[in-house]
């Protein structure tokens, strides 16, 4: 077999919500070039799938098509809608593959879109919850369907360790509907005690929690989802009071912005000051500013459901109202100097001390409604322009994304599939109170912290537990919510960290033979034969030892190294000041300290994008080693002829 080249390698990392993929390894690794929402649409022919929603576009009798000649054609037209997700089927739930035909269709779509060569090996990043049989099934599918020359599987937790360049770590991957917690020791996943798909511990749980809290204010799930991703939603460490509550400083209670946007004036304080701190500057009109219009403001207390107003036939009315509002706003912007002055003070307050803040909501439902109304292109554009409150506030999105690389729309999707996106989003501005600090108040942090404790406590080798506590990697898009990681670390700190005992602090030198209660039964004779003495086939526990040796030898940065830590090792608690390193070395209990692994710095693009999808970076590293450097010497991948000899079950020998 001809050797593989960088540009031939394909990596696919399926996730419940987003699937990442890439063809070719760049010289310096970059975040996945291809991002695909993990869903397909049933095609009109049963059993077939489409990557986009296909919308039937009926022509209304009274409406002309601008391009002549169309009238002669069939009355029904179809158009692909790259934004809509109505009727989509998501083949994975909490990482599990729940709809195989749809999942296979998704993989096929990605494969075709990447358009690889015949000589393309594939590395698939496996979800922790996939079973051994799932691995076999996927192996069979890939070989039978794509007939590629080589295939390998890498567990997402192992891949994460490759990305961070640490052989041993506790990987906490917070996803959409679940969290996975894995202890990895010397690049080997510790299966026992691995927390797989801890339910209600992903980003969705936080969205749902916000929805619970904001339901009364007429927030929809989609609004809560976008709120969660915005920079005004923040998770405060345990014990930090909410602004405006008894524990918070009193000056915040008199919040000028809060007064300004609670309905006192219909126009609110104008526009956002470009470059304002984190884009937190409150903007009007928010909820409660919709005064003075009999039909439209039935819900002074909540958010206006524009979409349903539009469908109920009040379209003209709301458009007129919006026009009016915009005009007023423009006017106030000119003479808004005093309002801006009032805000100047406000800007300096960090988000966490403000009782209220606003964010830009992209109203997809409204857009869908408009599209469903079969408006002419011209009318459509007009309605959109009128309803969009975000236009001219371009500073918004970039400002946010530098702080938090989150955005409601996955930008690269559009680049990967250049489908004429003639309709942009409609943005609306929404104000939220302290509910925005309570996304994690449903207990998600405690559950994850307890999961970490269980995972590490299940590691039989007691001596390695402190190393695992000192090498936490928290990642996954669910953990992107502002303050999440810090709050999780603080939760662990307040609940699990063992303080040095006052009784032993000054008599610390215990006999050294007591310092390792590993229970290895010292002084017992060695067994004559190891577990494979009776002919056990030396299959690895997941990693082929040769492969491990090869991969670490080739990559200096993967060599075992002492755990590094970054600055936020013990938020909310005393750093190691009170814990002289050797004071209680004989303490058998863990953790005595918790730390996060320092993020890797080798790849500038990744550094910029953030490491929430670091498993993909690790997969790139692994792919480079397996397919290019090692070229199969260490049996790091399954070739087509291996597959023909061993069948799908052989894959367990090649996965890591």
């Amino acid at each position: 077999m001809a050797p593989f080249k960088d540009e031939q390698i394909m990596i696919i990392a399926p996730g419940s919500q987003t699937t990442l993929a890439q063809l070719g390894l760049p010289e310096s690794f970059t975040p996945a070039r291809f991002r695909m929402r993990s869903r397909m649409f049933p095609a009109s022919k049963e059993g077939e799938w489409e990557p986009y929603k296909v919308r039937r576009k009926d022509k209304q009798p009274g409406e002309y098509d601008t391009t002549s000649g169309n009238e002669l054609e069939d009355d029904i037209a179809y158009e692909e809608d790259p934004v809509s997700e109505e009727g989509a089927v998501w083949p994975m739930a909490e990482g599990r593959i729940t709809n195989w035909p749809c999942f296979f269709a998704l993989l096929t779509h990605i494969y075709n879109a990447l358009n690889p060569t015949f000589h393309t090996p594939i590395l698939l990043v496996a979800q922790p919850c996939w079973t051994a049989r799932d691995h076999e099934r996927l192996t069979e599918f890939f070989f039978e369907k794509f007939k590629m020359p080589a295939f390998a599987l890498i567990d997402s937790a192992t891949a994460t360790c490759y990305a961070y360049g640490v052989p041993t770590a506790t990987v906490v991957d917070v996803g959409l509907g679940k969290a996975d917690i894995t202890a990895v020791l010397d690049f080997i996943v510790h299966d026992h005690g691995r927390i797989i798909a801890l339910p209600k511990c992903g980003g969705e749980a936080m969205t749902q929690r916000l929805l619970e809290l904001l339901n009364a204010k007429k927030f929809t799930r989609e609004m809560c989802e976008q709120l969660k991703k915005s920079s005004i939603c923040e998770i405060l460490p345990p014990g930090v009071p909410l602004p405006g509550t008894a524990g918070a400083e009193s000056e915040e209670v008199t919040n000028p912005a809060a007064a300004a946007s609670t309905g006192a004036s219909a126009s609110g304080p104008g526009h956002r000051i470009a470059g304002g701190a984190m884009g937190d500057v409150p903007l009007g009109p928010g909820p409660g500013t919709e005064v003075g219009d009999g039909k439209l403001d039935e819900d002074n207390e909540g958010v206006l459901d524009v979409a349903s107003i539009v469908t109920s036939g009040n379209m003209a009315e709301i458009l007129a109202k919006k026009e009016r509002e915009k005009a007023e706003k423009a006017a106030s912007r000119k003479k808004g100097a005093d309002a801006a002055a009032a805000q100047a003070k406000q800007i300096k307050l960090p988000n966490s001390r403000k009782e209220k803040a606003t964010f830009m909501y992209e109203d997809h439902a409204l857009l869908d409604t408009l599209k469903g109304m079969n408006l002419s292109d011209e009318k459509m554009a007009e309605a959109q322009a009128t309803l969009d409150e975000g236009a001219g506030k371009k500073a918004d999105a970039p400002a946010e994304s530098t702080v938090e690389p989150t955005s409601a729309i996955e930008p690269t999707t559009a680049t990967a599939f250049p489908v004429a996106a003639k309709t942009g989003p409609i943005r609306r501005e929404i104000e939220v109170g302290t509910e925005r600090f309570q996304a994690a108040s449903g207990g998600i942090l405690e559950k994850i912290a307890d999961g970490i404790h269980r995972t590490i406590s299940a590691v039989e080798n007691v001596n390695r537990r402190s190393e695992l506590w000192e090498s936490l990697i928290i990642l996954g898009n669910g953990s992107k919510t502002r303050g999440f990681k810090e709050a999780l670390m603080a939760t662990i700190q307040t609940k699990y960290v063992i303080s040095p005992s006052s009784a032993t602090m000054f008599t610390s030198e215990l006999p050294s033979n007591l310092s390792t209660p590993a229970g290895t039964g010292a002084n017992t004779p060695q067994p004559q034969l190891g577990p494979h003495g009776v002919g056990g086939p030396g299959t690895g526990t997941g990693v082929n030892p040769l492969l491990l040796a090869a991969t670490t030898a080739q990559n200096p940065h993967l060599q075992p190294q002492p755990p590094q830590s970054n600055g936020m090792s013990t938020p909310g608690g005393p750093p190691s000041l009170h814990q002289p390193p050797n004071m209680h070395s004989s303490h058998g209990q863990t953790p005595t300290t918790v730390r996060m692994v320092k993020v890797p710095e080798y790849f500038p693009e990744w550094k910029e994008a953030g490491y929430d999808e670091a498993a993909f970076l690790g997969a790139q590293t692994a792919a480079k080693v397996l397919f290019i450097v090692d070229q199969g010497v260490s049996k790091g991948f399954m070739t087509r002829s291996d597959y023909n000899d061993e069948g799908p079950r052989g894959i367990s020998d090649y996965s890591m």
Binding site: F104, L514, Q526, N644
Partner: protein, 462 residues
């Protein structure tokens, strides 16, 4: 590259090396499951389950540790390690396999069945998929090697075979004794295996790969007994030790040794059940066993040397609520009852054990039940396994006491230095056995089961 796919050809009947058997090793505390030929079980799940007031049963690690209101934590076993609720036990064992190894049976529906007609458009062959679905039972595609405690008898064994064949659809089955498998894991076919688990300690004499039934001894002095001793020590301490599990604590604050905790406790609308609390307390006790408890090395009882042991350094332990203390001689007392019945701590609910239940007496009874001429060989091949054998110093004590009790023959004791091998010894033995080429003739096939019924298990799996 268009090589014809070998795997469209029918698979050889259970003999094919490419079909790795499933190995299932159920214990009182955990169920171990995985594929034969692998080093460690991929799946280790709790044997306890959650029972909701609706009657719904929840399985697995994530479920049983979730502090839900009104969820009882139950075990399908009696406290001395005998399955009493077969229906639930079956479900838990099945779960250990489907959750990590084979997937739920629903998962297999509508699978990719290959491009039968080679058109390559990825269409799923619906008919074939449906045919597969009808056949599919959760474990229908691999033979199953299951372990059972050496003292299990007639009906219990037949029940296992029945479950495997009828409920799981296993194409072939074998039932092996845990003692024999543990000996295999140490590369021995003749051994005296002492397995100290959670609910029971079992001593099994094995010669040439066969357990000598009459010599098998069983006692309730094992891990749960030690946990219970700890509870009593905590309660009877001059200032009682607060055993507060993690879920009850909101946040803790460091306090001086022996001083009451200054923690903030979590408020529950409906606090979790007592059985849940008990189960979570066990987590703390296991941590205590791992990091504080130690075995007096003997050979004489601790009682004789207590004054001496009092001078040994203590070890600190911090409870989840921050309360902490240094434990001195108490940390030796929790294990002493395994060796010296008189030293066991007792109260009204936990009566003192009998001396004949202690480990060395079990060995003596076992040896007395077998031929005189094999005793020396067995004593030269003592194997210690099980989670509770990890208690620090335990093996040394066993060795010292055996040497004192049997001064004639040479006593040799083997225990793996590797914690994992010690904890999962019987599973590992099953993994080795199940992947041996010569083992294939041992399977009870579906056909044989249909022909002979459950009684075949006693003939085949001796």
């Amino acid at each position: 590259m268009a090589v014809p796919n070998q795997f469209s050809a029918p698979v050889a009947e259970y003999g094919g090396d490419e079909v790795s058997a499933l190995v299932l090793d159920p214990g009182y505390s955990t169920v171990r499951a995985g594929f034969a030929g692998e080093d460690v079980p991929k799946s280790v799940v709790p044997s306890h389950y959650g029972l909701l007031s609706s009657g719904e049963k929840l399985y697995g690690e994530n479920a049983v540790h979730n502090p839900l209101a009104k969820m009882e934590i139950k075990s399908p076993y009696t406290s001395d390690g005998i399955v009493e609720d077969w229906e639930t036990a079956t479900k838990i064992w099945e779960w250990s396999i489907t959750s990590r190894l084979t997937g739920q049976s629903e998962n297999k529906r509508n699978g990719y069945v290959g491009d039968k007609n080679g058109n390559g458009d990825g269409d799923v062959d619906m008919e074939a998929a449906e045919a597969v679905e009808e056949e599919e039972k959760p474990m229908g595609d691999a033979p199953l090697l299951m372990s059972e405690p050496g003292w299990a008898q007639g009906k219990l064994r037949e029940k296992s075979l029945e479950v495997a064949m009828e409920e799981w659809g296993s194409p072939a089955f074998y039932l092996a004794r845990t003692g024999v498998l543990s000996a295999f894991s140490m590369g021995k076919s003749t051994a005296l295996v002492i397995d100290i688990g959670a609910s029971t300690t079992t001593v099994t004499p094995i010669v040439d790969g066969m357990a000598l039934r009459k010599g098998i001894q069983k006692s309730p002095l094992a891990g749960n007994f030690v946990s219970n001793q700890l509870r009593l020590i905590f309660q009877q301490s001059p200032t009682p030790v607060p055993l507060v599990p993690h879920y009850m604590v909101q946040s803790k604050t460091p306090v001086d040794a022996g001083v009451p905790s200054a923690a903030t406790y979590k408020k529950f609308e409906t606090p979790p059940t007592d059985s849940f609390r008990h189960f979570e307390e066990e987590r703390v006790l296991t941590e205590f066993k791992e990091s504080v408890v130690q075995t007096w090395e003997g050979p004489g009882p601790l009682a004789q040397s207590e004054e001496h042991v009092k001078n040994f350094p203590g070890r600190p332990f911090e409870m989840p609520d921050g309360w902490n203390q240094v434990f001195g001689v108490e940390r030796y007392k929790a294990v002493e009852g395994l060796f010296d019945a008189k030293a066991a701590i007792a109260d009204a609910e936990s009566p003192a054990p009998r001396q004949d239940q202690c480990i060395v007496e079990l060995v003596r009874a076992s040896l007395n039940a077998v031929d005189v001429d094999i005793r020396a060989n067995l004593l030269a091949n003592v194997v210690v396994v099980g989670g509770s054998s990890l208690l620090v110093g335990l093996n040394r004590r066993i060795l010292n006491q055996l040497e004192a009790a049997f001064p004639g023959p040479k006593v040799r004791l083997s225990a793996s230095q590797n914690t994992v091998e010690r904890k999962y010894a019987s599973w590992i033995g099953g993994s080795i056995l199940g992947s041996l080429g010569a083992f294939h003739q041992m399977w009870i096939s579906k056909r044989e089961y249909e022909e002979h019924g459950t009684s075949i298990v006693d003939k085949r799996c001796k």
